[in-house]
Amino acid sequence: MKVKKVMAFGLVAALALGAFGLTGCGTKAADSGSTGTTETAEAELTGTINIEGSDTLVNLSTAWSQEFMTENPGVMIAVKGGGSGTGIASLINKTVDYANASRKMKDEETEQAKANGVTPVEHTVARDGIAVIAHPSNAVADLTIEQIGKIYRGEIKNWKEVGGADKAIVILSRDSSSGTYEYFKEEVVGKDKNYASSAKLLPSTQAIVDETAANDGAIGYVGVGYVAPSIKVLKVEGVAASVESVLDGTYKISRGLYMYSNGEVSGAMKSFLDWILSPAGQKVVEDEGFVPVQ
């Protein structure tokens, strides 16, 4: 009898809590906009900055925010991943302050933003060199962009056609949603061309590194930060991928990494962006395996 009563009460309580939880959700989004406040130069910087977007940029953003928060204890920065599209959608819906993106905003997104009263402003915060990689035993050392394009379009199917052993080429690529995939398609595969449908689309850059290390027929592309001793980096047009060669422009396959804000920034948001572009912030870029903007 008593047990039953307790159970009934528990059930009622659980249901009530559930209902409360459901209604509670709706009220949160409104107040998460920028609260960065400008103080006098000497006063301590305060504010909250919400960042969301590209998974490529998550670690870099976190490293930036940790260092910035140590220097400015009054500033609270929260970084979330989820993908470039997710971040940009949140910026359009005004629920984040900065959207991280490993690709430029698309026209459709810019239109959506305008319709919603958001003016996206692009800030290039780092660059990423894209290294073309193969199995360490592969005899091929150097490819032209033309050859890489042909391989990825499926026109060259065997390593012997580019001076290697008689072995079928296994094409590895990032998923069609990744910023890297789109950049590589535009710059290497060709603007009006598609990847070979036999290309294997892997869910992460690390998966490409792992599969290339294990498969002697594989070719892949990864950010220079992911290059490991277990794989061989192919030269592109005679130039090896490195921070220096991307910086001086001799290495051709590199892309920008962006942060988008709603309109020009001020207060804590501006200080954070300025710090990112300063030598201290750009040193973090190099530490994380990316290429600084200057």
Partner: protein, 309 residues
């Protein structure tokens, strides 16, 4: 203090009324909770349909279901579900080949040939298998199965429908074993005793009497395992290579519906055409799993009726 009998009766009456009222409240809450799950399911279907509508009008449902190429961000953009549906079905078929014999075999062993603490231990282990996160299965597949498949069959790459299917089969085992074991357990002992009394051996009793009697329950277990396999995402994403081709054999890479949604959703333009088409993929997947679960339910119901007679 003096208490007269009429007062006592009144208080009893009051308590009874209160109890009845409380019961009514709880009953309506429980009723509401039951109804809520139906409402949620309907809401999911409606939501999927609304989000997929743009894709269905702009690309066309017919084109989506018949086009054989998937280039969602290519030029031109091609949204063909055929490679994805075939990919999902092929991986699931491989899983079926893995989990049907092993799952039913294990269930028969646990129910008919084991007893005591060993039986309980087996059941716990199998329940634990269901609790292992799918990403862990995927991880093991990447580390162990991909190189193994590549070397065993002399392939150019170990990321194949076979690799994904084997892991999915293992992941579906707990579902199949638990439900089949329940069905075997529910077979009345009188049937076993009758069979043994007629001179059948234990093995003959199992495959001529017990398994056929539990067949619809076992079938339901297989169907639910199938639903689990076709809906699984993370492991297949990590193991099948995700090339959107119509595979000629299980030794080729495939791209599944679930993998496509998971991999592409984070980066698409929200509310855009690609976004909407992904909801279309979700709708197809929802339809397939709904049909599988419905079939399993109908079969289970048939079995319940049979034993009630």
């Amino acid at each position: 203090m003096t208490v007269n009998p009429t007062d006592m009766a009144g208080r009893h009456l009051g308590r009874a009324t209160r109890r009845r009222a409380a019961e009514a409240v709880v009953r309506s809450l429980v009723y509401g909770a039951g109804l809520l799950s139906i409402v949620i399911l309907a809401a999911i279907a409606v939501f999927l349909f609304i989000e997929a509508r743009r894709g269905m009008t702009e690309v066309g449902l017919g084109t989506m279901l018949t086009s054989t190429a998937w280039f969602p961000t290519g030029t031109p953009k091609i949204f063909g579900f055929v490679p994805l549906i075939v990919g999902s079905l092929l991986v699931t078929a491989v899983a079926l080949v893995v989990f049907v014999p092993i799952g039913i075999g294990a269930a028969v062993f646990i129910s008919e040939f084991s007893a005591g603490w060993f039986k309980e231990a087996m059941k716990s282990v199998i329940e634990f298998m269901a609790a292992v996160p799918s990403v862990v299965y995927g991880f093991l597949g990447v580390a162990v199965l991909i190189p193994l498949v590549k070397d065993t069959f002399g392939l150019t790459s170990g990321m194949t429908a076979l690799t994904g299917g084997i892991v999915l089969g293992v992941m579906s085992l707990p579902t199949v074993i638990s439900i089949s074991e329940d069905a075997l357990h529910a077979v009345p002992d009188a049937l076993r005793q009758g069979s043994l009394a007629l001179g059948n051996t234990r093995w003959q009793t199992v495959y001529k009497v017990v398994v056929p009697s539990a067949s619809s329950g076992i079938f339901a277990g297989v169907m639910l395992g199938l639903g689990r396999a076709i809906g699984e995402t993370m492991a297949v994403l990590m193991l099948t290579g995700n090339a959107a081709v119509i595979p000629g054999s299980v030794f080729e890479s495939v791209r599944t519906m679930t993998g496509t949604i998971a991999a592409e959703m984070g980066e698409v333009v929200f509310g855009g055409l690609h976004y909407s088409v992904l909801f279309g993929v979700g709708l197809v997947l929802f339809g397939i799993t709904f049909a599988i679960n419905l079939a399993a339910d109908l079969v289970l119901e048939r079995q319940r009726k049979r034993w009630r007679r």
